[in-house]
């Protein structure tokens, strides 16, 4: 397949880097300032080197990439809330051109799902967004395989930064500020980790799962009940530990409600992964609980989920 990749962050860059390995050709690549377009396939190494050294992927205008020759648009620009722009417009343009779209950007699916679905209905292209939930873990694909109507609930740890902070606090008896600073030093937490620790990122993923499980629900971030882990006292984790439990930032979708917040779970539970790992538990109608765990973030992990979606469109 010919791919146009929008966004040159960790995920977009990894998609460009790995595309050939998966048998695809990148015909366009853009960040917010620049683009490189070649219908015969761009030179991935050159573009990635240019991004690293000069901060641009090529000499073209970003809009060139959107109008280039491609089969699948890979939307990997940063997640934005509310109107989810410019991601939403990118998706619309591609669908109106009857092209397929694979998203790593959570904004359009979490905030404007019904619009995306009606655009898809009128297009010859299809939309996939498995990379938006749980990185490399096949959460959306598993739900689709089982059939959304056969899954009654989802619970998960879907933010690696928050999980790292909580597991370090519990293991080392350190306080919140200390562990967060350490996470920033390690590159596990961003300079501004607000969305990770205030529950927003996990909530977006919960809302996306809600839209998959209940397609007519039209869930957005505003429908989610969100609580974070900011300044969680270490004494809470100590008390949990004394009782064989721990605290994890859990996102839950059940009975039409998306809820995110710190919850008590048994220390050895499937939903108490260590470090930055993610875990998801689906409540299935005929097969009990189904657990999926793995790396929930990271450039190559998320890029592999994007490329899996491209493969699903192809087949």
């Amino acid at each position: 397949m010919r791919l146009a990749v929008l966004g040159a962050g960790a995920v977009g860059a990894s998609v460009v880097d790995l595309a050939a390995d998966f048998g695809h050709t990148v015909t366009a690549f853009a960040d917010s300032q620049s683009a490189v377009v070649d219908s015969a396939g761009i030179d991935a190494a050159d573009a990635l080197a240019a991004k690293r050294t000069d901060g641009v992927v090529g000499s073209g205008d970003p809009s060139d990439a959107l109008s280039a020759d491609y089969d699948v648009l890979v939307e990997a620009t940063p997640t934005t809330l509310g109107d989810a722009e410019p991601g939403f417009s990118h998706v619309r343009t591609a669908l109106e051109r009857d092209r397929h779209v694979v998203l790593a950007n959570k904004g359009p699916i979490a905030e404007r799902f019904p619009e995306i679905m009606s655009l898809e209905a009128e297009s010859a292209g299809t939309v996939r967004f498995g990379a938006t939930v749980g990185g490399a873990m096949p959460v959306v694909a598993t739900i689709e395989d089982f059939g959304p109507s056969r899954i009654s609930a989802m619970r998960g740890v879907l933010n690696g930064t928050a999980n790292f902070v909580l597991s370090r606090m519990a293991a080392e008896g350190l306080d919140y500020e200390h562990v967060l600073a350490e996470a920033q030093d390690l590159g596990v937490a961003e300079a501004d980790p607000s969305f990770d620790v205030d529950g927003t990122d996990a909530a977006l993923k919960g809302v996306i799962v809600a839209n998959v499980l209940d397609p007519d629900g039209g869930y957005t971030l505003a429908d989610a009940d969100v609580d974070g882990i900011e300044d969680l006292p270490g004494s809470m984790l100590e008390l949990a530990k004394e009782d064989g439990r721990t605290i994890r930032l859990i996102v839950e979708f059940a009975d039409g409600q998306v809820r995110v917040g710190p919850r008590l779970v048994p220390e050895n539970a499937a939903l108490a992964p260590a470090g930055t790992r993610n875990a998801v538990q689906l409540e299935t109608e005929h097969a009990g609980q189904l657990d999926i765990s793995g790396r929930g973030a990271g450039g190559t992990e998320t890029a592999s989920a994007v490329l899996s979606d491209v493969g699903r469109i192809q087949s």
Binding site: A153, R155, P233, S235, A240, E242, P262, R263, L264, P266
Partner: protein, 177 residues
């Protein structure tokens, strides 16, 4: 696939005994009389519930039919059965509260929970690393009537809101608790 008359299973009974001589023995009699096989007794002598009772956990083996008779026998004898088995009668739940627990009157918080009638606080552990006037945390175990977990949690959420306490709830569904 099970037979209520022949299939022997393990059950946990959680009792609350009045602090009087002979109470423990009196609570074991109905178990023996109705054919339950006593596996273990955990007598939390030093651990008194907010109502001044002594929690006792008894593990027994019995058929489902006999188990029902045992629970009835215990109740007939006036023994307070907080939890019997894990499913039919009651559910256990652990929560952690944090904030100015002492300044916001911890005993009032506990009484408000007890007042829900469908819950009883069976255990509490307090951690106040920076002293009683600063942020402290408390882990509470509650026994709730079967099916009333949500209702009890709603009450606790209101208390937490009102007193500006941080509440960490258990993940109650799906066997995580």
């Amino acid at each position: 696939m099970s037979d209520a008359q022949t299939d022997v299973r393990a059950y946990t009974l959680r009792l609350e005994l009045v602090d009087e001589p002979g109470e423990l023995l009196r609570s074991l009699r109905p178990i023996a009389e109705h054919g339950g096989n006593l596996l273990s007794i955990f007598h939390e002598r030093g651990n008194v519930t907010p109502r001044g009772h002594i929690p006792v956990e008894v593990d027994i083996e019995a058929t489902p039919d006999r188990f029902e008779t045992i629970v009835e026998g215990l109740r007939d004898a006036g023994i307070n059965v907080i939890q019997a088995g894990t499913e039919r009668y009651s559910e256990g739940m652990t929560i952690i509260l944090s904030g100015h627990l002492i300044d916001t009157d911890l005993s009032d918080t506990l009484s408000q929970i007890q007042e829900t009638k469908s819950a009883t606080v069976t255990d509490i552990s307090l951690s106040a690393p920076a002293g009683a006037s600063d942020i402290s945390s408390a882990r509470m175990k509650l026994a709730t009537e079967s099916g009333s977990t949500e209702e009890v949690l709603a009450v606790i959420r209101d208390i937490a809101d009102e007193k500006d306490l941080r509440l960490v709830e258990p993940l109650t569904t799906g066997g995580a608790e």
